[in-house]
């Protein structure tokens, strides 16, 4: 080749390389003398893992692998290397857009369908709402989690999820796959159709039918090229067509066994590529699931659904079922030969995820199964098993070094690699952060929902990081439970009784001296919450 051509080619290559290649080349690491649990191949008692530029280069027994010259050697004797855990259904980092305040006089339940006012937004992409927070990422690293699927939560068509590696705070760098799936919940609208569960089912069916109709109309049009009126552009249908017509994954969140049956019926009727998430009662319909062969994202939330017999029989039986029966769900599925991933969805406090995995194991789930359900199985379900889910050469270097068995009670994660970047874990300080705020007292709270605003009075008691109390309003007095104050972050649950029906609500937000701000979420949707302290003198 002529020199000038060679030079041009070189310049082009460099230019292209400069634009397209990642910002920097990451260091090389050699983890030596550790026990390695690759998940898809046998355990190596004493081995070496070579990580280069974000990927696993090689794994093997000590002595069999040559340590590269440019490698930073990390002595890992006494530690075990596991693939970073994958949580296949979360709602982390989502910053929801401010809700539009409805103009009074407009709120009116229509007698006719109002398509212009469609409240569903299947086109909503989780990626566009991400606001990753370092403290949260650190917390997840501490429990060994390196990959999360983030999905919007609210509404029947909640939106589209994104798969992220917890490698920092820049969303673009975190994305592994976007979008991943369309998420559908069996919930209802409050002020418009569908406002009932049977309405939601009918609405889903009609939406799928409309997607099929719209898509086939467009194909027909495309074939003819002219002579037919073009259909009105429909963003809703455009958003769901890839999932309904092209059969990309749809995740149905199933709160109870009937939801599972509803999802399977829809899957069957419309030949969907359905995933079932939540499903903490899945063992009760194991036969159906075996036949249907759908991927299961099983939640570690052991609270019996409100519809179940146990919940209806009183608080005592409900608590008993939460302790004794529901934790045995994963092991029952395993025994039935069903493949599933474990998730933290539904857990109010994500750190209780570890505790719940241990409970599931205590109830009979083999530990290797638990590990698989958090590594290779979700990777396979999400279609990323060529790059994640196990320690194999060529895969992304998502790896954790722990000082014991992965789910052991005393085990601590010491080092975390995400995308080949090393994240050391700081030793956790004693339970509550030293700057824990004092939020005990009486507060004046305002809850803002699409229906309007409501004033409430909140009485809080605090003991270290535990918070409990009561929320009083004209609708009654509701108990605040499971409150946790971690630094300035506050979470609690509320069992609200409205007109004889009880609904669980969860609050999460921040406290700042004399204000508390955050979001209250329930099966019905989210509401903005703001409280100001009532000074003692005025009580």
């Amino acid at each position: 080749m002529e020199t000038s051509k060679k030079l041009t080619a070189l310049f082009i290559a460099l230019f292209v390389g400069a634009v397209l290649s990642p910002a920097e080349v990451l260091p090389t690491y050699a983890l030596v003398n550790c026990r390695i649990v690759p998940v898809t191949s046998p355990v190596i008692e004493k081995g070496v893992v070579i990580i280069r530029d974000g990927l696993i280069e090689s794994i093997g027994a000590i002595g069999k692998i040559k340590i590269p010259e440019d490698a930073e050697v990390i002595e890992a004797e006494g530690m075990t290397a596991f693939p970073g855990l994958i949580l296949a259904h979360t709602s982390l980092f989502l910053e929801l857009p401010k809700e539009e305040r409805p103009v009074p006089g407009e709120a009116r339940m229509p007698s006719e369908p109002q398509p212009e006012k469609k409240v569903q937004n299947p086109g909503l992409r989780a990626f566009n709402l991400l606001k990753p927070k370092k403290t949260t990422i650190d917390g997840y690293h501490r429990i060994g989690i390196t990959t999360v699927l983030v999905a919007p939560e609210a509404g029947i068509f909640a939106g589209q999820s994104v798969l992220l590696n917890l490698n920092g705070e820049k969303p673009e760098a975190m994305v592994v796959k976007n979008p991943v799936a369309l998420h559908i919940n069996f919930v209802t609208e409050r002020n418009s159709y569908p406002s009932s569960l049977m309405g939601t089912v009918a609405f889903l069916k009609q939406s799928f039918l409309d997607a099929e109709y719209y898509s086939s109309y467009q194909s027909h049009l495309a074939r003819l090229q002219k002579g037919m009126k073009r259909p009105e552009y429909n963003p809703f249908l455009e958003a769901i067509i890839p999932y309904v017509i092209e059969k990309k994954p749809i995740v149905f969140t199933c709160g109870n066994q009937e939801d599972i049956k509803r999802a399977l019926r829809l899957q069957d009727e419309f030949k969907l590529n359905a995933f079932l998430s939540g499903a903490n009662e899945a063992w009760r319909v194991a036969d159906l699931l075996k036949k249907a062969q759908v991927p299961l994202l099983v939640s570690l939330d052991f609270r019996p659904p409100l519809s179940s017999e146990y919940s209806q029989r009183g608080e005592e039986e409900r608590k008993k079922a939460e302790k004794d029966i529901y934790p045995a769900n994963p092991q029952a599925l395993s025994k039935a030969g069903l493949k599933f991933a474990l998730t933290s969805s539904g857990l109010i406090d994500p750190s209780s995820f570890q505790k719940n995995v241990r409970e599931a194991i205590k109830a009979g789930l083999p530990q290797e199964e638990a590990l698989k359900a958090l590594t290779i199985t979700p990777a396979q379900f999400l279609g990323v098993d060529s790059v994640l889910g196990s320690l194999e050469p060529g895969k992304i270097a998502n790896l954790i070094l722990a000082n014991g068995e992965i789910f052991g009670e005393k085990t601590e994660v010491e080092k975390v690699f995400v995308d080949g970047v090393l994240f050391p874990i700081e030793k956790k300080a004693a339970e509550a952060k030293p700057t824990a705020a004092d939020i005990a007292g009486t507060w004046k709270a305002t809850v803002r929902t699409p229906m309007g605003e409501m004033e409430m009075t909140m009485e809080l008691e605090q003991e270290g990081s535990q918070v409990k109390g009561f929320m009083s309003s004209q609708m009654g007095k509701w108990e605040i439970k499971d409150g946790i104050l971690s630094g300035a972050e506050l979470t609690f649950t509320l069992a609200a009784t409205i007109m004889g029906e009880t609904m669980e609500m969860a609050f999460s937000g921040k406290t700042e001296k004399d204000t508390i701000e955050g979001t209250i979420s329930s099966a019905m949707g989210n509401a903005e919450f703001r409280a100001t302290r009532i000074p003692k003198a005025m009580e």
Partner: protein
């Protein structure tokens, strides 16, 4: 001699007739041939009841009937005392969902000053319907809030409220928290509420007593200031002094215990109402010697753990423990169903006769009117029901009802509308002829 006897009998006769003859003419009515169930005393398989004016003059197998007495042939029928409803809204509610027709619930928590009988509507369409099923008297009560007001006893005839009221007030109505129930899930309503309410009630009573003290002291000493009139405290005085019983609506086991303790500490007269979980504390209620009026048995049990039949078997457990019980309809439009609550309890263990007692003599005793009603006994008011079978049975029809000696009109809204529209079908039959 004869003249003297005649003279004296005349005097005696005049005195006697003057004594009895205020409203009623001294007419005799003899109900003959009925199977008499007096409730107090033995049944009389075939006997006569002699009514004089508004009272029962006598009853028995063979009693002499004065000449000129109106004879009512009751052969084949059963004679019972008129039933007494232990708690209802007769005359205080017409159409449940229309606020304008409801007058048993005042706004606010503390209303001891309101009297249910002052809102009574004698023309209520529900009264004749209840009367036509053998109910002759009822406790009408206010409801709602904490201290709901004063209840009164009425008879189910009369053109004006004054004519209907037998006695008012009968009790001061107080309501402890109902058991909040969402389906069968019981919310753990903070227990402080009930015991807080006891504290509040004690506080009110103490305030009332102090108010009384100040009034009395001021009455004795002109220099002392006379306290401002306080409606609430004034109305609570009879309760504080032990003259007016408290009728406490209470359901949960813990609340019942708290209520018993309260009543004993304050040395008050009390009646318990509702008492859904009474079966759990039957002994204690018995020891405290507090009578119980049940609410409607047509409610779901307060919690799944209590059992599907808890409200049904509750009366039997309490009665067997020795508690004095009575039933109520807790309604206006279903007041006629009073006997069937008693029968339902009998289906679940209550002795049938005790069930009958609990809608006749026991409520009369509880409300302090057993000297004039509640059973068929000489001297009591002639409140008599003639039925073609067991009064608590569903298929039994009531043929006649006497209230204070006068035969009551049994036509009511149901029969009127039925007759009206029977005419429509009869017209058609005529047309087709």
């Amino acid at each position: 001699m004869k003249k003297r006897i005649l003279f004296f009998s005349l005097i005696i006769g005049l005195t006697v007739s003057a004594f009895f003859g205020t409203e009623e003419a001294t007419t005799y009515i003899a109900i003959k041939g009925a199977h008499i169930i007096p409730v107090v005393g033995e049944d009389i398989p075939e006997g006569t009841i002699l009514i004089n004016g508004n009272r029962i003059e006598g009853l028995g197998k063979d009693i002499p009937i004065p000449p000129g007495a109106k004879i009512v042939d009751a052969s084949g029928l059963y004679a019972y005392p008129g039933m007494i409803d232990g708690y209802c809204y007769l005359g205080l509610s017409e159409i449940g969902s229309i606020a304008a027709t409801n007058d048993y619930r005042e706004t606010g928590r503390i209303n001891p000053q309101v009297k249910a009988t002052e809102a009574l509507r004698p023309d209520s369409m529900h009264i004749p319907i209840a009367r036509a099923n053998g109910i002759t008297a009822a406790l009408v009560a206010p409801s709602g809030g904490f201290i709901a007001g004063q209840s009164g006893l009425i008879k189910l005839t009369g053109w004006t409220p004054e004519e209907m009221v037998i006695r008012s007030p009968v009790a001061m109505q107080v309501e402890f928290p109902a058991m909040i129930r969402a389906g069968f899930r019981r919310e753990e309503a903070p227990r402080e509420e009930a015991s807080k309410q006891v504290v509040e009630l004690k506080d009110w009573l103490n305030k009332a007593r102090y108010y009384q003290k100040r009034k009395e002291a001021a009455a004795r000493n002109l220099l002392l200031p006379f306290p401002e009139f306080d409606e609430t405290l004034e109305s609570l005085l009879p309760v504080a002094n032990g003259d007016l019983p408290l009728m406490i609506s209470v359901q949960a086991e813990k609340d019942i215990r708290a209520a018993i303790k309260f009543v004993q500490e304050e040395k008050l007269k009390a009646i318990f109402y509702g008492v859904s979980q009474g079966w759990k504390v039957a002994e204690e209620i018995k020891k405290a010697d507090i009578p119980v009026v049940f609410g409607s048995l047509n409610n779901m049990p307060p919690s799944w753990e209590d059992g599907y039949d808890s409200l049904y078997r509750n009366p039997s457990v309490l009665q067997k423990a020795g508690v004095k019980i009575a039933f109520s309809s807790q309604s206006a439009s279903s007041a006629k169903d009073l006997p069937y609550h008693a029968a339902k309890a009998a289906a679940f263990g209550l002795d049938k006769r005790e069930a009958l007692n609990a809608v006749t003599i026991y409520p009369a005793q509880i409300f302090g009117v057993s000297d004039i009603m509640g059973s068929l006994e000489k001297g009591k008011l002639a409140n008599i029901v003639l039925a073609d079978g067991d009064l608590l049975e569903l298929r039994t029809s009531v043929h006649k009802v006497f209230i204070e000696g006068k035969e009551a009109d049994l036509s009511n809204r149901f029969t009127e509308l039925l007759d009206k529209f029977k005419k429509r079908d009869e017209e058609r039959k005529l047309e087709e002829k």
